[in-house]
Symmetry: none
Subunit: 301 residues, 2 copies
DNA sequence: GACTTTGTTGCGCTCAACGCAACAAAGTCG
DNA sequence: CGACTTTGTTGCGTTGAGCGCAACAAAGTC
């Protein structure tokens, strides 16, 4: 029965791909003598000549071509085996990449990832934080498996796995200078200094739409994508910010700030969305994570 | 990418087959600790548990069952690879046995074997020379892979790979006593001393058939299966011989003798044949040789 | 509770596999 | 045609991976 040592076949394949023993050595961070010996050992084990050697490098013999084809099939079968193991392990291992609007970060960790990671400790995450534009780009270019964004437009490339209406609320410091009424109309809001996200953020574009709709311009003292900065602005009683409530769940719980609705018949409802690329087959770990993400505050009423 | 060391998978398979680590150790002439460590190393490499361990021995987990199936498939593919290597190697090494009518020997070497051997120097030949009877017996009894014979009868055990009509001709010394006309009819031939092969030779039986057909008896001064003797007879202007022309190609080229046709409406056409046993699987080297044999003069018009 | 059988682990030894340096062979260039 | 460069190979010394041995822990059996 033929016996093929993985390190020997690795040297052989590298030599075939690189064209010379020395280039293969460089590629594998080994010495040329190591490559040469491993190939020779493989030829001995298989009792056939696998490469033609010369001043201009190495080429596969007919037997070498057969072996390359065999090793290629083996790689595919090892991939299949890996997939079977993964499926069997019930997604106990893998990596999921997620692009999120910064507003989601707290909710994501508090209400989804903490629990999920305790159940599947060997699943890892790659997280990028950015605007709704960024999130959509990451998802459609398949650099992220999943996306969490606010106020996503309709895009045929994007499938919405979960969505929830999340009205914007006015956030002011509890008992602060601006905590003057239970509900703000826009005219009143326009007199208060506020910090808001830019239009490239779903929240920012929503606010801009309301301004246009009502013919009012807010006193946007600060425009930033940093949710931390927006919270710090409010925490320091410098004014108000306008965000979906789920963004500040923990601050509301801690009673450091209060959420007041925006009144006077304006449509300030936004939608938070859980996104994936239409038609893309996700790894099992990502599919499982979706179920957990649906329990975030962002996706509940 | 999964990496499976053959010695690790060997220990795993042995443990599965034997039922305990210690039995596997005995089976492979190793220590139980070696088996245990190799299986553990394989589990680490594959990041999955392969066996359940207990006082009553070891059993495959679901992942272990998947791996066993994979390894079984791999064994079959290694067998196939081995067969491919063997087929490839057989073309370049091996031995072919051939039984030939002596008349074919010159043609065989001049127009086939010389070229073939330069291409495949490690292929050797076993040659027996004899009558058409001998050739057929060697082929049907599988003592020869291939046979070259003249005027083979129909035999269900024999497959004809190539055949060519090769008429008999009268051979006399150029410018000799008997070189008296461009075409001999049988009556004239009957007056000339001649040397011919015996009836067990295809040529001999063909000549006998013509004698009966025409009611004429040749002056057969010498009857021998030795083509050299037949040629020597003519070369010494002792008379004529009757052979297919391809037997004396080189003598004709050297202009030491001439070939004259046999006239007067008799059917003196014989057939030279390349034979193999019907249903016998020939080694690759013999299959390759067949292609070269077809370029002999005996098989061209 | 004593005994047996199983798989595992600590430890020391050995040799297989590596890197390094030198060599041989074969193109290339002036 | 000689000098040079690039290729693959081989001799030699070093080292650490893998083995065997002995002891241990766990779990059935009597």
């Amino acid at each position: 029965m033929l016996n093929i040592e993985p390190r020997q076949s690795a040297c052989f394949l590298a030599a075939m791909q690189c064209g010379t023993v020395r280039a293969a050595a460089e590629h594998l961070a080994l010495e040329p003598s190591t490559i040469s010996r491993n190939i020779a050992a493989l030829e001995t084990a298989l009792a056939t000549t696998l490469i033609e050697r010369g001043r201009s490098g190495v080429r596969a013999t007919e037997a070498g071509v057969l072996l390359m084809a065999f090793l290629k099939r083996q790689d595919r079968e090892l991939d299949l085996l890996q997939s079977e193991f993964d499926a069997l392990a019930n997604m106990k291992r893998g990596s999921v990449s997620i692009a999120v609007g910064e507003g989601f970060v707290g909710d994501l960790f508090d209400n989804a990832l903490a629990n999920f990671s305790s159940m599947y400790p060997e699943i890892t995450f790659a997280l990028t934080v950015g605007s709704t534009e960024h999130v959509i780009r990451q998802v459609t270019s398949e650099q992220a498996h999943l996306g969490l964004a606010y106020n996503v437009g309709t895009d045929s490339q994007v499938r919405v796995e979960a969505a929830s209406t999340q009205p914007l609320v006015v956030l002011v410091k509890r008992g602060g200078v601006f905590d003057t009424q239970k509900s703000f109309d826009l005219t009143t809001l326009a007199t208060i200094p506020c910090a808001i996200p830019p239009k490239s953020f779903g929240i920012g574009s929503m606010i801009a739409a309301v301004e246009v709709q009502q013919g009012v311009r807010l006193r946007a003292v600060i425009e930033t994508g940093s949710i931390s900065a927006l919270k710090a602005f409010v925490r320091n009683d410098m004014g108000c910010t306008i965000l979906p409530q789920f963004v500040v769940e923990s601050e509301l719980s801690a009673q450091t700030m209060v959420a007041r609705s925006i009144s006077s018949g304006i449509s300030a409802d936004g939608v938070s969305s859980l996104l994936r690329k239409e038609g893309r087959k996700l790894p099992q770990a990502a599919r499982l994570l979706i179920k957990h993400l649906k329990s975030m505050s962002a996706f509940t009423e």
